[in-house]
């Protein structure tokens, strides 16, 4: 019996492993293995019609003992330190006892079909769920076997029938134990599989975030070194007396100054991102007038637009903007990022600022005729640290963080931001909303 049992377990194990490898859904696996297993068990156990009739004959004799059998089975279990989990409610333990009694009744009626299998499975799974070790159930089953043998010995006087009863009973009890073990094995495999999936997922995320961080570090280092080169280089040249006139000196110092300003804006963006990442970026929303802020930003960026011969058109002049609910400094930062970007990425044509008002939101719209962006890459723009084409970054400068920061700021103030472009070279439109102040 032992070698039969172990080879049976091995066969089951192989099938479960193969199914798991094949990526079967666990539910299908449950059913598939159950039915096939049952047929297999029948083959192993050589159930005969004689067995069935022996058990049936035993039925009336055993019936009064079934309750005691169930009591004994579960009496064994409380010795286990984890067993209190099974006694979370008297109902649960009663259900399990009743199920064991039903099983006994079915057994002595000669019924061990698919329903029987499902039932035993369920009990097995329950034991696994409450973390009861398999060996513990096996020893409780041994107790049941011992008990039933004793009853048979006591009640059945006919010695040959008693022997036959022992054999038939053992077959069913072994079957039962096999089913329990299989349930254990499958539950363990499933639990392992789930743990594995979680670990793999966590691992993937870790690798991704560490790659991301080192790429970001490399890119940041690169972005900081470039303007720093100009700041230090030009000052060095002036100090070395390379210049031939006062004007030339002023020119170099002016370049150094602008490079330093650029450096400062990158450092500020980086600090903002670090604060956002740490969840420590403070936003203090209060009643705010958006129009003066917008006009201030427009007059600031108009200088850059003029230098590039890009028309900066403000259509909000004629629109009465309601008081909004937001952080004025942060709102200004968003305007600077969005309008500044539009001017930066437009070499000819215009940048148009417009607004629309409904009773809940003011929607600002910044439309340019600039370099545009391919549709498939538009979503990336809001991801931190990604400027779509790193060569654009070099051509136009900037940390590549502006849109990601703006998205965060707008959302924190209760609005939404969107970007739309028909494609490369076809201009870009950014819209974002800020909630209207309601008393």
């Amino acid at each position: 019996m032992t070698s039969q049992f172990s080879s049976f377990c091995e066969a089951i194990r192989e099938r479960v492993v193969a199914s798991v490898r094949a990526g079967d859904k666990m539910r299908n696996l449950d059913q598939g293995v159950t039915m096939e297993t049952f047929r297999e068990i029948k083959r192993y156990m050589h159930f005969s019609d004689e067995d069935v009739s022996v058990l049936k004959k035993l039925g009336p004799t055993m019936q009064p003992y079934l309750k005691e059998m169930a009591e004994r089975f579960y009496a064994e279990i409380p010795n286990h330190p984890e067993a209190f989990k099974i006694f979370t409610g008297p109902e649960q333990i009663n259900r399990l006892k009743q199920s064991l009694q039903r099983w006994g009744a079915g057994l002595f009626a000669g019924i061990y079909d698919e329903n029987y299998v499902q039932e035993r499975y369920l009990v097995g799974h329950t034991h696994v769920r409450i973390n009861l070790p398999q060996k513990y159930v096996v020893s409780a089953m041994a107790l049941v076997r011992e008990f039933l043998h004793q009853v048979v010995n006591r009640e059945i006087k006919d010695i040959p029938f008693r022997m036959q009863a022992h054999i038939s009973l053992d077959k069913v009890l072994d079957l039962d134990l096999n089913l329990m073990c299989e349930a254990y094995f499958k539950s363990s495999v499933q639990a392992l599989k789930e743990i594995n999936q979680k670990l793999e997922e966590a691992n993937r995320k870790l690798i991704e975030s560490s790659q991301f961080k080192s790429e970001f570090l490399a890119s940041t280092s690169h972005e900081l070194r470039t303007p720093l080169s100009s700041v230090l280089g030009f000052i060095r040249l002036v100090l070395d007396g390379v210049c031939q006139s006062r004007e030339e000196e002023m020119d170099l110092l002016n370049d150094a100054f602008h490079a330093a300003e650029h450096l400062l804006s990158i450092v500020n963006d980086l600090l903002d991102v670090a604060r956002i990442e740490a969840g420590r970026l403070e936003i203090q929303s209060r009643r705010t007038e958006a129009k003066p802020i917008l006009q201030q930003v427009i007059s600031l960026t108009a200088v850059q637009a003029e230098q590039k011969s890009v028309k900066l058109i403000d259509k909000t002049d004629s629109i009465a903007l309601p008081t909004v609910w937001g952080d004025s400094e942060r709102l200004k930062q968003v305007f600077i990022n969005i309008i500044g970007n539009a001017v930066k990425f437009t070499d000819r044509g215009s940048v148009t600022v417009n607004a629309q008002v409904d009773d809940k939101f003011v929607e600002f719209k910044v439309e340019d005729t600039g370099v545009g962006i391919a549709k498939e890459r538009q979503a990336e723009l809001f991801e931190k640290f990604k400027q779509v084409d790193s060569s654009l970054k070099r051509r136009y400068g900037g940390s590549g963080l502006g849109l990601a920061i703006s998205k965060h700021l707008v959302e924190r103030m209760g609005g939404k931001i969107q970007l739309h472009s028909e494609g490369l070279g076809l201009g870009t439109t950014v819209t974002f909303t800020i909630p209207v102040y309601v008393q």
Binding site: S221, T226, V242, S391
Partner: protein, 135 residues
Amino acid sequence: MKKQSILVVEDNALIVKFYRMALERQGGYKVYTTEDVDEILQLVRSGEIDLVILDISLSNAHYQNRKMDGIEIAGLIRQDQATARIPILVATAHAMEGDRAKIIAATGANGYLEKPIYDSRKLISEVESLLSTKE
């Protein structure tokens, strides 16, 4: 003696301006600058160029309708027998661990400077030493 010539391949206009001031005024070299790959190849093949200062990340370097970086440009210079021996000084802001070895291996560069490059005398002494070993 004829002035020695240096070709600067760099996409940042301010950094180009720095190289020009430092190399022309302080070093006494003749400086060419371009990002156009055809122009680069034409210049190095003309025999006019004694040394190339090469940036790695370039925004406007195209060759046969394809974007190129400094590593690929170095490859083009190195694969042509006529230009293979021109010293290349890589000057890049890529400064993470391992970048240096990787870039030198990929470009076959003779020298390597990390940005920020602002000490013009150090730059010139590096250029001088590369030019002297060339002879």
